[in-house]
């Protein structure tokens, strides 16, 4: 019989996990008592796993995938990472909701640098970058500030690319959002304008 792939879910998908471990008819508490599944709190919520070893190995796989994505994307919107990381995992079934909790755990532990951004409802969220890209991120934030002081406006296409080629261009938009978070100005289309330029 082939080895069963590790599976991790939140409470919402626990029936899928019970089916995965051949305990479709059991209650989640009974399955836990019989050692068929295990549960642990991650970032304040329960994660259910096919075993304790599966939880540990999947946590490491998700961490590695998140780090890979953040490095590839240069500045990565945090909300985009979990589902992509979960879908790219090989050898483990982890829902996006679980990957999100693992990612929060990594951010709490300072595994990434973070920039603040604002939603349309003025709520903060994060864009992440790898610590070894911190100097390049800082340079681009500095460029944005000096360009605004010089020209009153910075377009996303004005931002100098990093020393490597990110796999997408979303980092440019994240930087402009960060400028708005800092109160440097207001976004219009693909540009950030100083308040004076708005007039």
């Amino acid at each position: 019989m082939p080895a069963r792939a590790p599976m991790l879910v939140t409470r919402r998908n626990v029936k899928e996990l019970l089916a995965h471990v051949g305990a479709r008819r059991l209650d989640v508490d009974v399955a836990q008592e019989r050692g068929l599944i295990t549960a642990a709190k991650v970032s304040g919520l329960w994660v259910f796993a096919s075993s304790g070893a599966d939880l540990d190995s999947s946590r490491q796989l998700v961490a590695a995938k998140c780090e890979e994505l953040v490095s590839e994307w240069f500045i990565a919107g945090m909300s985009w990472i979990p589902n992509t990381a979960a879908s790219r995992l090989l050898g483990a079934k982890v829902t996006g909701a679980v990957a999100k909790l693992f990612l929060r755990e990594l951010v709490r532990k300072g595994r990434f640098g973070a920039l603040g951004l604002l939603t349309a409802e003025f709520q903060p969220y994060l864009a992440l970058f790898a610590w070894d890209a911190a100097a390049e991120v800082e340079e681009r934030v500095g460029f944005m500030i000096s360009q605004l002081a010089r020209a009153g406006k910075v377009a996303s296409s004005d931002l100098p690319p990093p020393s490597f080629t990110p796999t997408n261009d979303a980092w440019r938009s994240h930087l402009l959002h960060h400028g708005e978070f800092l109160g440097l100005g207001v976004r219009q289309g693909t540009s950030l304008l100083t308040w004076k330029e708005l007039a």
Partner: protein, 291 residues
Amino acid sequence: MSTYLVASDSFVVTNSGPVVTRDLVSHDDKIMIVRRDGRLAFSALSDLEQGDADHLGHRIFTNMGDIFLPEGSDILMKGSPLSGAEIEDMAQRDSRVKVEIVNVHHVRTNGQRGDKTRAYQQCLAELRGRAVALPREVAETNGIGEDVEEILEIAGAVFERFEDERWVAYDIDPSPRPLGRHLSAHHATALMLLTAWASDTGSLVSRTRTEETMLRRNLIAGLVAQGSPFETTWVPGYHPVECRLRLLEEEERRAYRSVTAAFAVRHPVYRLVTADPGALVVNLMIVPASG
């Protein structure tokens, strides 16, 4: 005598009101301590000296604001004093960590309200040239935008108003920080408005970015001076980039408040010596003598 290491962006409570560490005057000021019997008292400030300009420590984010805890200092927690590194470790493991605090209603000083114009000018100087940007919906609620303009006018600031569908912003010419060391109710009034971000069930919510420690410190010290209870929340909790401060109708008389996060950072410090032994009240938290 007791010696303490205190961050330059912290405030202590003198018998005439909250004062920023850097503005204290040794041999003149009496500052609030917790005596060994647990009672609050004022003790003469025997010595004050500028310390390391780049001291390693931890910034700790709590429901009563934040504090930089220098390496070599502990802070009173529920249970026992802990170092910044120990608090960071517990916060990272998502453990419930609680810090002991002095409630606002326990801070009784002979503080004056001071000069309104000068207080408003100090608040604007602390903005360090950044624009005041309010979500448009907030600016248009209960005359908040007009109140902000009144503050700018009383301070004699040169400013321009801008707006679009999302924002109302005031671009202010930076001005030097006027003299004056006591933080008063005027600072609280001005800074609640200048950092207004939401208007929740009739009461204002202030928003400062985590790195705006001076601005937030002035706001909180001003609230302490006017005896206004408040609470802060840090968002997102797993890596705060913003502080939301909300005024409370009544203070919850609790001795402990939650710690949301703690990060290792560097910051300038001062060395303070008080005539009497005890623990120092810093940003309403309790710092035992170091060394």
